[in-house]
Amino acid sequence: MTEFNLTDIEKNTRMALHKDGLDEILVGLSLGIMAVFFLDFRLSIALVAGCIIQILVKPACRRRITFPRLGYAKLNEARDQLTGSVILAIAAGIVAVGLGLFFVSALRWLLPPYLGIVLAGITFIQVRRNAHVYDYFVVGLFLTSGLLGLLLISLGCNPGLATAVQGWALAGLLIPVGAVRLGLFLRKYPISTGEADFDKE
């Protein structure tokens, strides 16, 4: 059964649920908003807003835009729960280190490469699950953004501002890419009127 591989089918299913461009648009939006926090730490509401976009807005958008067009599929719970717990633990560690870097001014210059590496790492895990060439470009983009931040710092820019610029630059690139993917998705999958439903014979 070389031509008929269940792993490929699982990858296809995962990829199908993420080809709507919403990931890029909403991650870009979150990064753009969260970047404000690095300018002034009193604006921590920006971090909350960025998280809300990922936790509440993304599923709502999928319900309104993706599922009526592409259909709905729920991936296996057991695997996702395990993955979810591991991701949650790692995410808590990543945020703690990130905040540590932000509040220790001597280490603040490490923020842009740290952000770039973390985002690239998260995307790289997705690449391993989805094996989609496109995701490698996003990994490269995140790593490059870390270098951009370092470059700005080496040119005398404040590390907080450099990190914010990094976030805005990523938002400026990701949102248009996502918008194009969303446009293509909407064109390829017109909304289903309910006619495409099971008809018992």
């Binding site: 259909g71 599929a73 296996n76 495409a196 099971f198 018992k200």
Partner: protein
């Protein structure tokens, strides 16, 4: 054991191939349902590229065999058919995979 007896034994799984699953479209449907917890009709239609009538017909056969469960519900006043593999279906799919593997190995 004669050569003839060995051949018969090695091809035994061939006679146990489940004909309900062996049809390519139904095999594809079961393969997709085996990697998700549940999926709706539209998702399967898009992924398998089967037409509405064709998919409906295959789903009816799989449901009659007790391999899948079909549940109708309304989301925003639009009917949605949720499909999932039953325990019997999961088991049958695994047996089918194992039988096919044995058959292909014995033929190579």
């Amino acid at each position: 054991m004669t050569r003839n007896e060995i051949d018969k034994e090695s091809l035994q799984p061939l006679s146990e191939i489940d004909r309900v699953i062996h049809e390519p479209a139904r095999l594809l449907i079961l393969a997709y349902l085996s990697v998700v917890e549940s999926a709706d009709f539209l998702f399967l239609m898009n992924q398998t590229s089967l037409t509405r009538g064709n998919l409906s017909s295959h789903l009816s056969k799989l449901e009659a065999a007790g391999y899948i469960e079909i549940k109708k519900e309304f989301v925003d006043k639009i009917p949605r058919t949720l499909l999932r593999l039953t325990e019997k279906g999961t088991e049958a799919f695994q047996v089918y995979q194992s039988n096919m593997k044995q058959v292909l190995e014995s033929l190579s």
